[in-house]
Amino acid sequence: MARTSQSWGLRTLKIGFMSLVGLSVAFPVYWMVITSFKPNSEIYQRNPTFYPQAPTLDAYVALMTPHGTRAPFVATMGNSLIAAVGSTLVSVIIGIFAAYALTRLRFRGREAFSGLIFGCYVFPGILMFIPIYLMFQWLGILDTFFGLIISYQIFGIPFATWMLRSYFATIPASLEDSARIDGCNRLQSIIYVTLPLAAPGIAAATIFTFTAAWNEFLFAQVLLQKPQYQTAQVALYSLLNGDSVAWNQLMGGSVLVSLPVIVLFFAAQRYIGSGLTAGAVK
């Protein structure tokens, strides 16, 4: 009895604190969504409104129409998707094999190589900005998605490798030994045993590399100059140029940009979570 009453106070405190945190996270999202349904006049009005007085899709219609050098917003989202999906595939696939090698194979310089990857991961990519630009110019891959995807690997491969490496380390090597005795070659043992067990790690690495590439602005802005290659982040930024900012369009764009990330999170959720290797050993 005493225990219940004691934890009652604690529970109220916990719930109160969590509501506060939840509210401070949810409110900006709520504000973004309602603003996108307001006409600009309502936004600039003296007293803010907490729900749209006259909900309208004007902002979205305007976004979808090309304006100046800005492509229709869906098209820019398509560009972002190409860059993000391409870059995620490259990062995660290379990351899987690199992480496998680093955790399972013995070779000279393995430790040094691991350290190097961590170094690359923490090294600020922006410092490589100018050399990359010059290199891409020399290679003639400026203004190509290929170039942008390659530039995203500066972050993507080290990140995916590092994340998967720590995940692979939790999968007992004896499982692969066992698979090899059961009749797998090395590649089959990876496909049938290591990858299914690494699914949570792979899902997490996918989400994070995708989100990072999807949200990336600077490289996309500089490496892709042609309007038809503009990504959504760059398009959003271009909405800020002008005398009066169309906040409803900016917020509408933000809503659209967050959708794929939200969808991906929910899709990957069931793979994330631990306990997949429970019962394997001992």
Binding site: S174, D177, D182
Partner: protein, 359 residues
């Protein structure tokens, strides 16, 4: 089924030599136990037979086929790991059928063989469970099932029972023995439990520092250890080992033991006056005799452990404890002085410096 021939095999990791020119013949259908202290290379040898580890030098053949460069999957062997290594994302049935599936067997054939093996191991009720839903003993059994379902030429076991509790270990030991009698598949079994080795094996290989210290049947190793190492390793409770120098009294060889009384030695041709030796005798070869009988020595009882069938005692021999086991009942009490006689036909002598048997 097949014989295994290991010829002068070496293994090094970089500069570290782990297996040092080891040769061993395992006959078709034989059950061989590899025993030895931790780090002596048992697992390494087993993994070289399985192909999981490269062979640095030498040759290994299974059934007349040189397998140095054959992939593990093509060696027709099955292995049970110390940690079982069950696939956690597959049910028991899938775990057991995995090798058959990879070998391209039909669904019906796989189901049939899995069921037959499951029946042998009493796993029929668990086929749809995942490894995490099983107890330790059941997991161990699945690991065994995964091996026998393939009907391989050779079974390799790396300490398969060491994660089980004592009771289950004894039970599984009996099951493994029965299984071997039934299937008669050539088996190499790594353990550092010498009781397991003694009870299961046709032949025991005692390894030490990457070499074979001695090999033989369990009783050969027990009765005729060729070195101090084997003498100390095989047998539980272990053999009593008394250090001292050889002397001669009235034409008979005696041991002036370092800390205790003078002991009569068995007749040996090669002993010389003052030679440093170690005198070994098993606990069950000590007998209580009347006071100061010919050749008897005295010691003080320290611990008495009756188990019903026999009584094990620890007694002070000078400052050293020796162990004795009596099958007969004696009226014993703590700190009592008893007189013991050694059955000299069953003792062994070792050179103190080399640790090798002196005859």
């Amino acid at each position: 089924m097949a014989a295994i021939e290991i010829r002068n095999v070496q293994k090094s990791y970089g500069n570290l030599q782990v297996i040092d020119g080891l040769s061993l013949d395992i006959e078709d259908g034989q059950f061989v136990a590899l025993v030895g202290p931790s780090g002596c290379g048992k697992s390494t040898l087993l993994r070289m037979i399985s192909g999981l580890e490269d062979i640095t030098d030498g040759e290994i053949s299974i059934g007349d086929r040189l397998i140095n460069n054959v992939a593990p999957k093509d060696r027709d062997i099955a292995m049970v790991f110390q940690d079982y290594a069950l696939y956690p994302h597959m049910t028991v049935a899938k775990n057991m059928g995995f090798a058959l599936k990879l070998a391209g067997e039909s669904k019906e054939a796989i189901a049939d063989r899995v069921h037959r093996s499951a029946k042998i191991l009493d796993l029929t009720d668990y086929l749809d469970r995942y490894p995490k839903q099983l107890s330790g003993g059941q997991r161990q059994r699945v690991a065994m099932g995964r091996a026998i379902v393939r009907d391989p030429q050779v079974f390799l076991f790396d300490e398969p029972l060491s994660n089980l509790d004592a009771k289950l270990r004894v039970q599984m030991r009996a099951e493994i023995k029965e299984l071997h009698q039934r299937l008669a598949t050539t088996t190499v079994f790594v353990t550092h439990d010498q009781i397991e080795a003694m009870t299961l094996a046709d032949k025991i290989v005692v390894m030490n520092g990457g070499r074979i210290e001695q090999l033989g049947t369990p009783l050969e190793l027990y009765d005729q250890p060729e070195s101090l190492f084997v003498a100390g390793f095989i047998g539980s409770p272990p053999m009593n080992l008394i250090h001292g120098s050889v002397g001669f009294e009235r034409g008979r060889a005696v041991l002036a033991s370092d800390h205790g009384p003078v002991l009569l030695l068995p007749d040996a041709q090669t002993l010389t006056q003052g030679q440093r030796i170690v005198f070994g005798f098993r606990p069950e070869h000590l007998h209580i005799v009347a006071d100061e009988a010919e050749g008897a020595f005295d010691c003080i009882l320290n611990v008495i452990e009756p188990t019903g069938a026999e009584t094990q005692v620890n007694a002070w021999f000078g400052p050293k404890l020796i162990t004795a086991v009596f099958r007969e009942r004696h009226d014993l009490s703590l700190r009592q002085k008893i007189w013991l006689n050694i059955d000299l036909r069953r003792t062994v002598l070792f050179d103190e410096a080399t640790g090798l048997r002196v005859r």
